[in-house]
Structure formats: C-alpha cells, structure tokens
C-alpha cells in the first residue's frame, strides 16, 4: 500500500498524534508517579513533574525485597520457555487445522473454540488438582507445561495460514518435500509477521499471568514478578509509589520484546516475485 490516502496525510498525522497522546499520557503519568513519594501521590495533584523528585521507590523495591531479582529471573525463564514452545506448537496445530486434510479436523477446530469459551476462573480449580496429582505444584514445569499450548493462538495461526498462498506448498511438494519439511522450511519462515505477533502476545501473557502462579507457587523463592509485586499492595493501604516503580521495572522487558519484534511488521515479507 503506497500512499493510500494522498491528500489527507495531514489529517492522518493529526489523528495519529491525538491518539498517541491519549495512549501516552497514562503511561507518562505512571512513570512520573514512580518518582513521587506516597504523600505526593495521595495528595491528589495532577502534576506530571514530581514536586520532589525521588529515586527512593526504585531503591526500596530492590533493597526491601531481597527476592526481587529472583522473581525477575523466574518470570523471565518461564516466559522465555513458554514463548518458545508456544510458537512451535501453536503454529504446527494452526497449520494442520488450516491446511492439512485429516478426519476430525473440523471437530478439533470446534473443540478449540469451545475450550476458549470457558472462563479461566473455572478451570483453575481442576487444573490445580491435576497439577497436584502430577506433583508439579511449586515447580517451574507446573507453570510451564499447562501453558505451552494456547488455544487462542492456534486459532490465530489457523486464520493466518488460511490466507497462505497454496502455490508455495504445491511447489515444495513437487520438489519432493513432505508435510513436515514443507512446514519447517517453507511455511514457517514466511510466517514471520504472524510469529512476531504471537511472540509479543505469548511473552506478555506469560509475563503478566497472575492467577495460575498465585495458586501454583507457594514458595516465595518460586514466585513470579506479578505475585511478588502483589506484596506492595497492603491490606488497607496501597503503596502506589512502590507499585508504580515496580511496574515500570516490570513493563520494560515486555516493551523491549515488543519494540524488537515490531521490526518484523516494518520489514514486511513478500510471497511473490517482483520485490526481493
């Protein structure tokens, strides 16, 4: 799409900047709050620049909570492993549902849709009982294995592969590649934008997951960050200053992942000749 809306480029920019402000302000506000004292946040001013600028909140979360680094590590390791397997398994399943003809294809697709519909609050208890009988409570695999496949993104990958040009696969088949070779050598490399999108979502989802680790992990050494952060929320008073600081530390990795994989949308991938 080159220059889609010729004359209206100015209008487009104004719109984009306005929407940018709408999304940016809250984030900036959180950032500025992370440098304020609780007293200043609670006094209810709407100033963006802190009256008294302080690094205390950041210092406090690392000093006062000796396990903060450990939680960061736990979150990172779980998120990385989960993301890796999800990319692989979801794409495989999505591809099979979109492209491979096998009995039960439609049924499995509907099963996956059906599974999506059930609220997480409800499967939590049975899931917890299953993990317990596997002896996986308080372990990394207890958090990782149930989430290495994600019905949502199987569904998403299926929808992406529906549009995938058949010619490529036919050409690969003529070349004597079987389904697996075709998938890994032809299809997957060309699905980069979809994989990038998936990476962002899975990483973020795993990084932010709250309910499952809250129930599965009871040993403080095994907490992930969201569970650990929770400790800054007092029973009667919420320590917004600490929460804001911790959230900033917490948000950065997810944002970095996003910014990094974002380039796959900019590069673009072309299927057919003409451009190389």
């Amino acid at each position: 799409m080159k220059k889609p809306f010729h004359g209206s480029i100015k209008v487009l920019y104004i719109g984009l900047i306005l929407y940018g402000i709408i999304t940016f302000i809250p984030f900036i506000w959180a950032l500025s709050a992370s440098f304020k004292s609780l007293a200043e946040i609670s006094s209810g001013g709407s100033n963006f620049i802190p009256n008294s600028f302080t690094f205390d909140n950041y210092k406090q979360i690392f000093l006062q909570e000796p396990r903060f680094g450990r939680w960061l590590f736990n979150s990172a390791i779980v998120a990385l492993i989960v993301t890796f397997f999800n990319l692989l398994f979801n794409s495989m399943a999505g591809y099979a549902l979109a492209r491979v003809r096998f009995p039960g294809n439609q049924f499995l697709f509907f099963l996956i849709l059906a599974v999506l519909v059930v609220p997480a609050q409800i499967t939590l208890l049975p899931k917890f009982l299953i993990l317990k009988s596997l002896g996986w409570l308080n372990s990394y695999q207890g958090l990782i294995v149930p989430t290495v496949v994600n019905a949502t993104f199987i569904f998403m990958m299926r929808q992406f592969f529906l549009n995938f040009p058949k010619e490529l696969e036919e050409a690969a088949a003529l070349d004597g590649l079987n389904r697996f070779e075709t998938f890994f050598q032809v299809v997957l490399p060309l699905a980069k934008p979809a994989l990038a999108a998936q990476t962002i979502f899975i990483f973020m989802g795993s990084w932010n997951e709250f309910l499952l680790p809250l129930v599965v992990m009871s040993d403080p050494d095994m907490f992930t960050l969201p569970i650990g952060l929770n400790a800054f929320k007092g029973q009667y008073i919420t320590y917004w200053n600490y929460i804001m600081a911790a959230s900033m530390v917490f948000t950065l990795p997810a944002l970095a992942i996003y910014a990094f994989f974002n380039r796959y949308f900019i590069q673009g991938v072309t299927f057919t000749g003409g451009k190389s």
């Binding site: 984030f27 294809n105 099963l111 059906a114 519909v117 389904r179 959230s247 003409g274």
Partner: protein, 301 residues
C-alpha cells in the same frame, strides 16, 4: 483399483497421519489441562458439591439448571454482558483496523507511533486500573477536559449510569492496540502483486481497500471478532474492582463471570457455578456460530 487411486489413497493416509502428528503436542496439553478440567466441570454441574473439608458429591440431576431459571440475577448479568459485548466489540475492531491501516502506510515515524499505541497493552492491569481511577476521578483529568469544553461532567466511578460506560471506554482503549498488532501482522501478508495488478486496472486507493485488503483480512477479522466476543463476555476484573465484588449498585455492573465467581469462591457453590459456566459457554458458542455464517468463512475443501 487403479494405480492412481492407490496412490491418492496412500497420499491421503500420509496426509492424515501428518495432520495428527502436527496436532499431537496440542492434543496432549490441551487434553490434560483444558479438556479434562472442562469435562470435570460438566460432570460437577449435575452435582451438589462440597470440596472443602469433607469432600462430597451428591448427584442432583438438573437441579442446578432449574435454579438458573429462577435466578433473576442471571438474566440481569446476561443482559449487562450482552450490552457490553454489542457496544465494545464493533468499536474496538474498527478502531484496531483503522489504526493498523494508518500505521501500515509508509509514513514517517510509524515505528514510534506503533510503540506508543501499544503502551496500554504492556502496562500491568493494576497500574491501568489506578490510572483510570485517576482519570475518571470526579476532579480528574477527564472531567477537567470536559469542563474545559463546557461539556457535562460525571462521577465516572460512583454513578452506575456511567460506570459501565467508563469500563467500556477503558476496555476499548486497552484492547484495540492488541488487535491492531494482529491486523498489522496480517497486512504484511497481502501480496504486493495484487495491488500492482489492481493499479494497472486503474483501481483507486479506496477501491483497492474494498476489493483487495478487506477480503484478505476476512479470516483475521473473524479471529479478532471471536476473541473480542469471548474477551468481553468474560469481563470480570474491571467490574470486580469498580463494585468491590458486589456487582452493584443494583446489579448495574454485574457480569456473568462476576456472578460465576461469586458463586464459586464466595459461596463455594461449585456445582451451580459450573452449571452457569456451561450456559455461558453455550451462549458464546451460539454467537460464534452465527458470526461464522456471517463471515462465510471458506472451508478446507
């Protein structure tokens, strides 16, 4: 049997086999951690269950489902949720599409915009909630802006008439960028050659959009709408926080999942909670199937 049909048969078997192999990890993990729990839930829905302390299951047949009929709060929650879905899903889908198209155009600074637009999605929900409390606060940012333009101001957090609308705005704002990213990814796959061919045929920008881009985005739009419907039907966090878990005032913020949660965890009435879940699942399935007809998705063969 001819050689050709023999060959085709073998190919079909091979094809089916590889299909199952592709699905194996999914089938194992989803089977154990999703289908099994769901089956368990279905069985429990026909029981009166006590899981805490002395575990007991008492088969009660359809009692839990009969109870739903007489439970006026189910109807209210369903109505609230439907209303919410009907408003939020179209708006957030259109917004996501619009943003994606704008950011897919080759304009300067688009990667900056992409990061900025995505910020709401990476910010943790606890912080988002606080930020919105601050914005919606009766002397907060939103009311300041509204009064600057001499528009009426509201108590966004306390007034039930507007509380649900406030939740809707927040949800659209936080979800649209997520779907925007999926649209962006899909837009990368539109074959350039199609546009070029269209240009040669003398198609305008809008013409190309209607005849090429939009049809190409159909499968992804189906995904986004279904996920939007499922996500909004499962609205829980925000109404929980806004109403302190009660769904009040006078059930104005009661949603189906909040109701299920109340029964499951507050009353420990698992059987009934699961019966309600089944009804919710049925409703969403119906909506999805209707939607699938609407989008007329292509079949595999």
């Amino acid at each position: 049997m001819t050689l050709k049909s023999e060959f085709l048969k073998r190919r079909n078997i091979q094809e089916a086999l590889s299909g199952y192999l592709f699905m194996t990890p999914t089938l194992i993990v989803l089977g154990i951690f999703l289908v099994l729990p769901v089956l368990y839930a279905i069985v429990l829905a026909f029981h009166s269950v006590n899981l805490l302390g002395e575990v007991s299951y008492r088969f009660t047949g359809l009692k839990n489902f009969m109870r739903i009929q007489g439970d006026e709060r189910v109807a209210i929650a369903l109505k609230n949720t439907m209303q919410y879905v009907a408003i939020v899903v179209p708006i957030q889908t259109l917004l996501a599409l619009g943003l994606a198209l704008a950011l897919n155009a080759k304009i300067k600074g688009r990667s900056l915009f992409r990061v900025a637009f995505f910020l709401p999605t990476v910010t943790s929900s606890a912080v988002l909630t606080l930020i919105f409390m601050w914005i919606y606060n009766s002397n907060g940012l939103l009311n300041n802006v509204l009064s600057f333009f001499s528009l009426p101001t509201y108590n966004w957090l306390g007034d039930p008439e507007v509380a649900l609308r406030g939740i809707m705005i927040m949800n659209i704002w936080a979800t649209a960028p997520l779907f925007m990213v999926i649209y962006l990814a899909a837009l990368q796959d539109v074959p350039e050659s199609l546009y070029e061919a269209a240009s040669i045929d003398g198609a305008t920008g809008w013409g190309k959009f209607w005849c090429i881009t939009l049809p190409f985005l159909r499968p992804v739009t189906f995904f986004i709408v279904v996920m939007g419907i499922i996500g909004t039907f499962q609205l829980f966090d925000q109404s929980y926080i806004f109403s302190n878990g009660s769904g009040g005032p006078n059930n104005a913020t009661l949603t189906i999942v909040l109701l299920i949660y109340q029964y499951a965890f507050k009353n420990l009435d698992m059987g009934y909670a699961l019966a309600l879940t089944l009804v919710l699942a049925l409703v969403i399935m119906t909506v999805t199937i209707i939607q699938r007809q609407f989008f007329g998705e292509e079949r595999l063969d």
